[in-house]
């Protein structure tokens, strides 16, 4: 590990937050993506969707202040903000599939240079199910994969995913603690790099072919 895991996750969350724009509707996956909410720039207004039936989701409810009728997609009690509202699952996935969700941020087991994503099953081992992930990746206008660059040193960004896909060629951006990679027609382009790592280090930790941007920048966090 070049960068400590906890620090890495914070770097990822901060960088993802900078991708969000004023007025957007955003769905954050469970786990690491949830951290993004902590770093939204103060001058922009972003609304979070929770696919179990809410927009305007706020923070986790404080102990003792839980409303048992308001949960997030992980089943935890959450607050709802003034602009928020509730709806059924049809409407929730209408927002998702219909392209009303501007950005979805998800973790990955594997992602590849064609924008394929695998994050819902390891056959024979782990079968949680796809939940809303397939719809989110298929329907959201922009799909950001946010994850640690490797799994205990093993690459997670491939030329071609090995695991069953969540969706085909839908990922737009991959943000890890080491850099920012964009899926383009030409392949996977490294746009930004963490100031503490080298291009060679990233390449050695990435199975995919990385195209280095002519305009490579230091990761903006």
């Amino acid at each position: 590990m070049i960068i400590d895991e906890t620090v890495g996750k914070e770097i990822i969350a901060k960088r993802v937050a900078k991708e969000l724009k004023d007025g957007q509707l955003v769905n954050l996956g469970i786990g690491l993506p949830t951290l993004v909410a902590n770093y939204i720039p103060k001058d922009i207004n972003v609304t979070f969707q929770s696919e179990n039936g809410m927009v305007g989701m706020g923070s986790l409810a404080q102990r003792g202040e839980e409303n048992i009728n308001i949960t997030n997609a992980g089943g935890q009690y959450v607050n709802v903000l003034p602009q928020g509202s509730f709806f059924d699952t049809c409407m929730s996935f209408g927002l998702i599939r219909g392209g009303h969700v501007d950005v979805t941020v998800l973790g990955a087991l594997e992602v590849d240079q064609s924008g394929n994503l695998a994050n819902w099953i390891i056959p024979g081992k782990l079968v949680p199910g796809m939940g809303g992930a397939m719809d989110l990746v298929t329907g959201a206008k922009k799909v950001i994969v946010s994850m640690l660059h490797t799994s205990k040193g093993k690459p997670k960004i491939f030329k071609k995913c090995n695991l069953p896909l969540t969706a085909r060629e839908k990922v737009n951006l991959i943000i890890t603690e080491l850099g920012v990679m964009e899926v383009t027609n030409k392949g996977l382009v490294l746009r930004e790099i963490n100031k503490d790592v080298t291009v060679d280090q990233i390449k050695s930790l990435t199975e995919a072919d990385l195209i280095i941007s002519d305009d490579l920048k230091i990761m903006d966090i």
Binding site: G74, G75, T89, V127
Partner: protein, 217 residues
């Protein structure tokens, strides 16, 4: 017309081998008292249609643990380890369906539509064995309707006619499954006289509800 009944009056509705839809998302918005009834009656070989299999001690998760489910059509089983265990042992069949597809299939079943065309699942194992239809140069999967013998829904306040109002994120599958079953039983936190719920708050019209029971608050 008063649809409010005691538990004893609905027991005859349940039979082994039935297909039952249950509302709730990880247990939020699940009619727990109706789950109790299914457990008390020990109804077996149920085909369960729900969003997920909840947790071992909550909602439909309790039916999994009690070995009452033969097949589960759900989008997610990750929060209930018993589901995966029984599945691996060959004791439970699990059909995983993307959440947005699952709810639209149920809606199609209740709304008289022949199926739905969704882009979700294209290029994945979900498309296996399914018809693909190209519209405007884009591929869609034809996914078929789902219906059930009984739908068990959970409302907040319900009136005697069966009009249901929901709160917060307890809606999820409830208003949709209420349209897609031969019999609909609604569990209320609070029961009021017909007409006492603000009509703008009614999420499921009583005309589709057959029985109302009082649950916990």
């Amino acid at each position: 017309m008063n649809k409010v009944v005691n538990i004893d009056e609905i027991k005859h509705l349940f039979k082994d081998g039935m297909t039952i839809m249950v509302g709730g998302f990880l247990g939020c918005g699940t009619p727990e008292k109706l789950i109790d009834v299914l457990i008390d009656l020990n109804i077996k070989d149920i085909t369960l249609i729900a969003n997920d299999t909840s947790f071992v001690d909550k909602g439909v998760g309790r039916l999994i643990v009690n070995n009452q489910i033969k097949k589960a059509i759900v989008s997610h089983i990750g929060t209930n380890p018993q589901t995966g265990k029984l599945m691996n042992e060959g004791k439970l069949k699990v059909e995983l369906c993307p959440q947005g597809t699952l709810i639209e299939r149920i809606r199609a079943g209740g709304y008289g539509l022949g199926g739905i065309l969704t882009p979700t699942g294209i290029g994945t194992v979900v498309e296996e064995g399914k018809q693909k239809i190209v519209i405007d140069e884009k591929e869609y999967l034809l996914e078929l309707p789902l219906r059930a013998d009984i739908a068990l829904i959970k409302g907040n306040t319900i009136d005697e006619f069966g009009n249901v109002s929901y709160k917060g994120t307890t809606r999820n599958f409830n208003p949709i499954i209420a349209m897609a079953a031969d019999k609909v039983i609604a569990e209320a936190e609070k029961i009021v006289k017909t007409g006492e719920i603000d009509k703008e708050l009614i999420g499921t019209p009583g005309v589709v509800v057959d029985y109302v029971i009082k649950g916990g608050e």
